[in-house]
Symmetry: C2
Subunit: 482 residues, 2 copies
């Protein structure tokens, strides 16, 4: 073992040099076999006299050797040397690196080098520059100033309890979701992963929308479940197609009815009824991911599936990351008490609770209306960004076909007859990042779809972004035409 | 489906009554079959005239019906009614609750009702009342004021990157652990769970110390691994016994060498060498949980296993929760690059990163020396609390046997010949919470051991706590003597 300075104590007590040196030379003496197991060290008085230090200094050094297991104190006899296995000390470090037996990596994640991106259209995250920084500062400051020390407790009452209450009130008021309580999670991804852990066993099947949200599939696969896909059309998830894939060990349907990911289509009301009826009859739980409910620009959002009376097989997931900022990792689950209990049980073992201070600050932020005002203001900005992108695409990039999204932070377009992977790659080379269809398809198959997020694209950048896309489309059409 | 007011838009736009009512009555008309699929709605002009509202109001209502999937716009023809499956509308909600097929609950967790606890000795968490509140406020305020908006980004550069750098420097300086980088996790429990996810498959065996840390075992079991125990004596984990349990699919050894949990014994140096040699030879990874390294009261801590040259099979886990406050859920893993990469990969799917603002604030807190000062100050307080508890137990509770712990935040005592579960239960009835041996044994067997945490026990409470314990011991001895 490599010698390491007992750094902390030295640094903090300022009383290092002497006893450390004494301990070190005694350690050497023993490890080199000049004192053998069963032998006694000289008395501390004798050592102190020999070394010209105080007896106290010697005792501190001996204490250290006792802690390290070299010697043991014996009443009225001093310190006896303990049995040290005859290991080759100072052996050379192994020449080969240790071979870890790691589980296979999860699905590919697009790593986008942001330093080379001028038009950021790959992630539909809220724009942090729109945040009411002073209101957030006030919320943190309030949490840290007026809260008692218990804000730093694990079960921070002033954080988790208040935030849960604030979220329950918010959900009822804004989303018409009536929850008696919510479980806080590490963003919506944490919610999905926790639900996967408590609901799924290896070999179970989860039906997901295709195209859809890959990180959710990876969370299901991480617990050994299989992912089966169901088609999506212009009215959302195809419930007739769903009927045909509900065979075998299907335990869960993962769906994004408010705004289908990535097509942004809202699931039609008749399909909602049919979906709820069908899944409940078959004993299949529904995981409703309502990730960006509030971003609808003229029509009001349809009430979530979780609003339907008696539909207690719907597990409702949402997140503050999409409403505030991607760095705010606070999601929530509304579910029947038995599921909430199990989620809490499992979250103690994997991730226990959120960050206490941030939870307390967010409670203030919601309670004093800051969140509502922020959503209201930023929704207007995102509507303008959507309109600017729509106008620019129609003017500069007629090759792309799309329906104007009624809500959400992305526009789903198709470059018919072309590979969107090639288009996206070409666009990235020119500084525009977006998500090609292959990233959102269960089997990773290529297609004409492009997911264009506009939440990070300021209005004035829209024309240049559209021109960049048009150049990429033209390039691919020219280069890859037969 | 229960009707829900389109609450958000109404609330935010203030333009609710009219178009909401119009949409609602059109919806009724369709769902009652008075307009059938394929039929067209009256024109928006006609509707506006009939209803005595502006055409704009009618168009907003129609837009909502389109979003809900009742009607679809047809160029130059108005709005056509879509096909609605003939489902029994307004069906009664199901009478039986939905039966979720939940995975079994994880191991028992002692729920302690804190409102009835006067002497809190069950959890060895740092005392939040010792926190330098103004320094923490400053750190948060600095993070929120001087950082750009990017502190709220998911990959918050000013949080995660700086904190990782600060932790790498801290580990080198204070613990002699040389890491090129660390992975941030959701406390040490998050670190253990993430390592379990990337290192273990169902059926794999993890060897753990017994008695030991139950939440870690539960994290291993949560991914389907089996837990096998190895004994602990007064020099820590018994490496000879370890040799005998390393058969079959043992993939990992979980160990707490700095201060064995719960006995607080430090693993002796010779055993460290033997343990490292043995595990590396057998291809078994070592998870070293160094959960409270800094709390040593006279001797300096032994360098962690992860310091040993070439011992790249050691995965080193630590946490700031034990140094700052239980509500601060920031842990870290030092491991070879390939393991760090896989951890990041999996943490994107389950829990992605920490709380951005708190990470940024903690960077400041560490960089400006606040953490060092806090550790130095609080360690003195905990040493006094240890001494007070030791004195009180010797004076008032001679029935308990123990060795004075050289470090850490707990004292491990035995009430020989008695059931510690009965003693703990009796003590709790008198307002003292502590952990009996059964909670820290792999098979949950009863025994004489009691884990007494003193980090939350102020010096002046020690005598009363010791007297309460003594009464509980006497009661059990009297009642359960044969």
């Amino acid at each position: 073992m490599k010698a390491a300075t007992p750094a902390l104590t030295s640094m903090l007590s300022g009383r290092h040099a002497r006893w450390v040196n004494i301990a070190s030379s005694l350690r050497d003496t023993i490890s080199r076999g000049r004192l053998v197991p069963g032998e006694y060290l000289p008395s501390s008085r004798r050592l102190a006299a020999d070394l010209g230090v105080s007896r106290q200094t010697v005792l501190v050094a001996l204490d250290q050797l006792v802690a390290e297991g070299w010697v043991a104190p014996r009443p009225r006899s001093g310190f006896v040397v303990l049995d040290v296995p005859a290991l080759p000390s100072a052996r050379p470090p192994p020449s080969e690196p240790f071979q870890f037996r790691l589980n296979p990596a999860l699905g590919q994640w697009p790593h986008v080098d942001l330093s080379r991106v001028r038009y950021r259209m790959h992630d539909a995250t809220p724009d942090p520059t729109l945040l009411p920084r002073s209101e957030l500062r006030n919320a943190y400051s309030f949490a840290l100033r007026h809260a008692s020390a218990s804000v730093f407790e694990r079960e921070a009452r002033e954080g988790a309890h208040r935030l849960r209450r604030a979220l329950v009130a918010y959900l009822r008021r804004v989303r018409a979701v009536v929850a008696d309580d919510v479980v806080l999670t590490h963003g919506s991804q944490g919610a999905i992963a926790q639900l996967a852990a408590v609901l799924l066993r290896p070999g179970d099947v989860v039906v997901v929308e295709d195209p859809g949200y890959r990180p959710a599939w990876e969370a299901f696969r991480a617990v050994g479940a299989k992912v089966r896909s169901v088609a999506v059309d212009e009215r959302g998830l195809d419930v007739d197609a769903l009927r045909n894939v509900l065979r075998g060990r299907v335990r869960l349907l993962y769906t994004t009815p408010t705004r289908q990911y990535p097509t942004t289509v809202t699931l039609s009301s008749p399909r909602r009824e049919a979906l709820l009826e069908l899944t409940r009859q078959r004993g299949i739980a529904v995981l409703e991911d309502d990730y960006d409910h509030e971003y609808c620009y003229r029509s009001s959002p349809i009430p979530p599936l979780a609003c339907a009376a008696g539909m207690d097989h719907v597990l409702y997931v949402g997140t503050l990351s999409k409403l505030i900022a991607p760095g705010v990792r606070v999601g929530f689950v509304s579910a029947p008490p038995i599921v909430r209990e199990r989620l809490l049980d499992w979250s103690r073992v994997t991730v226990a609770g959120g960050d206490a201070v941030t939870l307390a600050a967010l409670s203030h932020f919601i309670e004093d209306g800051s969140l509502d005002r922020h959503v209201w203001r930023s929704r207007r900005v995102y509507e303008q960004r959507r309109d600017a992108l729509v106008d620019a695409l129609m003017k500069w990039c007629p090759q792309l076909r799309f329906t104007v999204p009624r809500g959400g932070l992305v526009l789903w377009a198709t470059c018919d007859g072309l590979s969107s992977s090639l288009v996206a790659r070409r666009a990235l080379a020119s500084g525009l990042s977006c998500v090609p269809e292959s990233m959102v398809r269960v089997r990773g198959t290529d297609g004409p779809g492009l997911r264009l997020a506009f939440s990070r694209l300021p209005v004035e950048q829209a024309p240049a972004a559209a021109k960049t896309l048009a150049r990429a489309v033209r390039h691919v059409a020219r280069t890859h035409d037969p």
